[in-house]
């Protein structure tokens, strides 16, 4: 059971920011599927919860030229089932469809996931590998400048993600090994191929959260074939280790996931 808090349902982005500015120790909440369990475990005790999911500025999935724009309040289920995403970015749609369970997918949102930046979350890898842009209440942030270590981002206090703009790549693939207990990623790799480059982002494994594997990008940029990854290894020193997977196993899995993501462009692969 949670500690006491005040709940707010602002009518606009501006009102949300205003409530945030005036509250003692506020937190925005979207789907709440990371925050609420934490609060129920009494490990988080915000004074004020400010709901965002219903805000009009955060809605919609649209195509804008060579970009797919996804409103921050779109649930994982809505991203997974959007024909537009399935067509332009099938790996992203399938990634969304692999998050958590049915309940999580119908409550959890892309904006909430990115604001939280759980080191084992799925979306950060897609955002980073696709070089997406995080659109916020005040500015636009490129993915390369957004992620700032575990549960940390470039967001300023009170700043709200409104949308994510994904450039449409030539192709992309996502491969994931799930934690047998939580089903979060033990390690996962999103590999995106554009006209002039390959970007590889690893989630679940790094001790500093999601990261780009530049050596793999370089090798795949020269030859987009999983054979090009031979001989490349991630250092266990940079990996997370716990009872579910030690650092050496995570380094291994991240490499295998990258290989599978290359081999299976255009879709999700579960190891």
């Amino acid at each position: 059971m949670m500690y006491g808090f005040s709940f707010h349902r602002p009518k606009s982005l501006a009102e949300a920011a205003d409530v945030f500015a005036r509250a003692d120790d506020p937190t925005y909440v979207s789907g709440g599927h990371s925050l609420l369990p934490t609060m129920k475990s009494r490990l988080a005790a915000p004074s004020d919860l400010i709901a965002l999911t219903h805000l009009p500025e955060l809605q919609g999935i649209t195509r804008d030229g060579d970009r797919v724009i996804i409103g921050a309040a779109q649930t994982h289920a809505s991203v997974a089932s959007a024909a537009l995403v399935q067509d332009a970015l099938p790996a992203l749609a399938q990634l969304a469809g692999s998050i958590g369970d049915m309940q999580v997918r119908h409550r959890g949102t892309i904006g909430g996931s990115l604001a939280n930046n759980d080191p084992a979350a799925d979306y950060p890898s897609a955002v980073l590998a696709l070089g997406a842009t995080i659109v916020t209440s005040t500015r636009e942030i490129h993915a390369d400048d957004y992620f700032d270590g575990m549960f940390a981002t470039a967001l300023e206090l009170g700043e709200i993600i409104t949308a994510i703009a994904f450039p449409i790549p030539k192709s992309a693939g996502y491969a994931k090994m799930r934690n047998p207990a939580s089903r979060y990623a033990l390690a996962a790799s999103f590999v995106a191929k554009t006209e002039d480059a390959v970007r590889v982002a690893i989630t679940g494994a790094g001790s500093d959260g999601v990261f780009r594997w530049s050596a793999a990008e370089k090798a795949l940029g020269a030859s987009f074939d999983s054979a090009a990854l031979a001989g490349l290894a991630l250092s266990a020193d940079d990996m997370l280790g716990d009872m579910h997977a030690d650092a050496s196993y995570r380094a291994h899995l991240a490499a295998i996931c990258t290989q599978r993501a290359v081999d299976n462009q255009g879709r999700l692969t579960l190891l």
Binding site: Y3, P180, A181, A233, S248, A251, L253, A255, I256
Partner: protein
């Protein structure tokens, strides 16, 4: 002691129709028994009409929260309640000292199995073991993380939880010990001053001299050191209790789901120091037990005590975190075993050194005792030498957990047999055949004294292998290889003992409208008693099962009953229901004879009706009952003889050597349950049992950090469970070799799914990984463990990966 084929039977072991007045049952008359009737309780449960403990609330109730120890081992200094008591809505903060001042005593768990068929366990000096008194709240030390040391009662749950955090306990942290093998070391921290060294049970069984001699002349000896990991039940419904005190009558009512309301009433009234009649316990629908709910929980006593003190109803509902910390846990056995074989692969002798981790105090020795009696498994092993120890550690108490003690020893013997097969070069199936007990060997007294009743062990194995399509394994192995996977198969035979609390009582009443009500003491937690018990009484009275209603779970209705554990419910309840039904028909026959003015033996009975032979004059059971004089009987029975369900299970796994991912691809089993009353229910029990055993083998683990003593798997984020997409479809069959020990010939169902599963999964994994140099792997066998095993075996898949 030496194992004995065709063992002589002790008095009272075999069912004797003449002594129980039920006569010999005519199975040809059975029309409901053996039918896969759908469970009549399910509609209620799936439409939200179940009555689980937390569903009960009483106007004006207070809420309890516990102050729990953050340390594995710490002395309790001053407890400052002031800040907590000052919080709005807080009604009371009570400590262990308050409980002592009110005269409360420790819970009497009676942990030492005591029937004459149980393996006897004593302290090292032969005296009764010191079990570590289980006060509702300790006053000296907290002995495990999560142990409750104070209770806060408040007007709301939120206030109680907030206040519990404000209770300031002056802790003095002490050195702790988590693993039982560490706890028996000389310099280990001591939990109880009464037991320096922490070992409170230490006994030897079997024949050490003959065993030693057999090992000396053996052609082959194999040895293993094994740990059967600690798991927890993860019941869907966390435990909950609501206590209500009636100041006028002085009676308390406790709404609390458990494995048996009668035991709760007996032990809790003793803790409170009140007459048993002053406590009514209601245990209706129970959302999962698996053993965890069979013993009394401190919180149940605490809400009863608080409600009597405060004269208000008090409710407690455990959170999932509290369930992970303080539900009674299961397994945690270290065993060191060895098997001696002659040149022909015949087993000669076995040794076992079993060390059970009971946790901070002893709630049950059933796992150690049950396992001790079955170390030789399904095989003829002439002599054995067994050492059994039970050890205190700074962990939550362990209790009998689904198939108490038997999966542990099945795991040990079956791993030994596979090791012996490798060592001797004899095919593992052939080696089992050479040593399995034959039907004519039974009754069989094994080398540690257990008397197996009946069974056709080799037939089980043959049938399971046929179900599994064993002959086709080679092709499947090749197919898997072509897909980049390694296939492994693991087979385990098992035999288990079902004993359980010996007493059970049935009251059968026929209402004037013909409805039959049966009051029975044992308590289900999803096993479908309302359906299957009804089938038994229906056939005994030759009436439709739909006419029979089973009443359970209210100690104002149910006075005697042992609860559901050790596969006892259908055997004990079935037996006493047979006897009570016979009593009822005897009474009814006399009444009918009087009514028809004939001699009782001039009447025929069929389909609920007595008919004067050769006439059309008849009277029904309903006719013989009236509101004033209902047709009713009560019968109490005590039955001590154990039965030995047995069977074979086979698991097939596929492992991806690159990712180390593992999947079960096939699972078959044959379970000899004796007479099967409702195959639909028994199959369901087998499926659940398999999932529970496989769960332990593959995912579940109450991991504890040895350095800090903190549990590492405190939520479903870290405690892995079997899921629908990680379970295969099961090919299970029931074998019915009737037990000679009871009128229906029942053994037990359900636990058999769990008992061999730890072994089958592990042996399948080892079969798959052996070519890569892996010879041992610990449970749970997660991808991480496979990675480590391959790494250790230096057969790492790294070269295949781009890494």
């Amino acid at each position: 002691m030496t194992a004995q084929r065709q063992a002589p039977l002790p008095d009272g072991w075999a069912y004797d129709a003449s002594t129980v007045d039920a006569g010999v049952l005519n199975a040809e008359l059975f029309s409901e028994i053996g039918k896969p009737l759908r469970r009549r309780e399910d509609h209620r449960l799936v439409t939200g009409k179940g009555r689980f403990s937390d569903d009960f609330s009483i106007e004006g109730q207070l809420f309890a929260a516990m102050v729990r120890s953050p340390y594995a081992h710490a002395r309790i200094g001053a407890i400052d309640k002031a800040e907590a008591e000052a919080l709005p809505g807080v009604v009371a903060v009570l400590t262990g000292q308050d409980a002592l001042d009110d005269g409360l005593t420790a819970i009497n768990h009676s942990p030492v199995p005591s029937t004459r068929f149980d393996v006897r366990l004593t302290a090292p000096d032969g005296s009764p073991p010191f079990i570590g008194p289980h006060l509702l709240l300790p006053v000296d030390k907290a002995r495990h993380v999560g142990e409750a040391v104070a209770i806060v009662v408040a007007e709301s749950r939120a206030a109680a939880l907030d206040a519990a955090e404000m209770v300031d306990v002056a802790w003095e942290e002490l050195p702790h010990v988590i693993d039982s093998l560490d706890a028996i070391k000389e310099d280990a921290p001591t939990l109880w001053d009464e037991v320096p060294g922490n070992t409170f049970v230490d006994c030897e069984h079997g024949n050490p001299e003959a065993t030693k001699a057999a090992f000396e002349e053996a052609a082959t000896v194999v040895r293993a050191k094994l740990h059967i990991n600690r798991v927890t039940a993860v019941t869907m419904e966390p435990r909950a209790a609501l206590a209500d005190y009636d100041a006028e009558t002085g009676r308390s009512t406790l709404y609390a789901g458990s494995g048996g309301a009668v035991r709760q009433k007996r032990e809790l009234s003793a803790v409170l120091g009140i007459p048993q009649d002053d406590l009514r316990v209601l245990s209706y629908d129970v959302g999962g037990n698996f053993g965890a709910r069979n013993r009394v929980y401190v919180e149940f006593g605490l809400v009863l005590w608080a409600s009597r003190r405060l004269q208000r109803p008090v409710k407690y509902t455990a959170s999932r975190s509290e369930a992970f910390l303080t539900d009674y846990q299961g397994r945690d056995l270290h065993t060191e075993v060895a098997l001696a074989l002659d040149a022909d692969g015949k087993f000669l002798a076995m040794t076992a050194d079993n060390v059970s981790n009971v946790g901070a105090r002893c709630v049950s020795l059933s796992p150690l005792s049950k396992g001790a009696g079955l170390i030789t498994g399904s095989y003829h092993i002439p002599v054995a030498h067994l050492r059994t120890r039970a050890v205190f550690t700074n962990t939550m108490c362990t209790q009998a957990y689904r198939s108490s003690g038997r999966p542990e020893v099945t795991y040990a013997i079956e791993r030994l047999v596979d090791l012996a097969a490798i060592e001797t070069g004899i095919d593992p199936i052939e080696l089992r055949r050479r040593n399995l007990l034959a039907p004519q060997d039974l009754p069989y007294r094994n080398a540690v004294g257990s008397l197996y009743d009946s069974g056709e062990y080799e037939a089980n194995m043959d049938r399971a292998m046929a179900l599994f399509e064993w002959d086709d394994v080679g092709r499947r192995r090749a197919d898997a290889k072509a897909r980049g996977k390694i296939l492994g198969v693991g087979l385990a035979n098992y035999v288990e003992s079902s004993i359980g609390t010996p007493k059970e009582r049935a009251e059968i009443t026929v209402a004037p409208d013909g409805a039959v009500e049966v009051v029975i003491g044992t308590q289900p937690s999803g096993q479908g008693h309302e359906t299957s018990f009804g089938q038994v009484v229906a056939d005994m009275l030759q009436i439709p099962a739909a006419d029979v209603t089973i009443v359970l779970g209210d100690t104002d209705r149910v006075s005697v009953g042992g609860g559901s554990h050790s596969g006892r419910s259908m055997r004990h309840a079935g037996t006493v229901m047979v006897m009570a039904s016979a009593d009822l028909l005897r009474v009814a026959r006399d009444l009918a004879a009087e009514r028809l003015d004939l001699a009782p033996d001039a009447l025929d009975y069929a389909d609920g009706t007595f008919t004067a032979r050769g006439t059309n004059r008849s009277v029904t059971l309903a006719d013989l009952s009236s509101e004033q004089n209902p047709l009713s009987v009560a019968r109490t029975n005590e039955m001590h003889a154990p039965v030995f369900p047995n069977g074979t299970a086979i698991c097939e796994v596929e492992i991806d050597p690159v990712t180390c991912q593992i999947a079960i691809t096939r699972y078959a089993s044959v379970d000899d349950v004796g007479r099967c009353i409702n195959p639909l229910i028994v199959h369901g029990q087998s499926h659940g049992g398999i999932a529970q055993g496989v769960g332990q083998a593959m995912w579940e683990d109450c991991a504890i950090d040895p350095e800090s003593g903190q549990p590492l798997a405190g939520s479903l984020m870290d405690y892995g469970l079997p899921r629908i997409d990680t379970m295969p479809f099961f090919d299970v069959e029931i074998s019915e070799v009737l037990s000679p020990t009871n009128p229906l010939g029942i053994k037990a169902g359900g636990e058999g799914g769990t008992t061999p599963a730890l072994a089958t999964v592990t042996l399948a994994v080892l079969d798959a990984l052996r070519p890569l140099g892996v010879t041992d792997i610990a449970m749970p066998i997660t991808p991480q463990r496979i990675w480590q095993a391959l790494d250790t075996a230096a057969a790492t898949p790294k070269e295949k990966a781009p890494a």
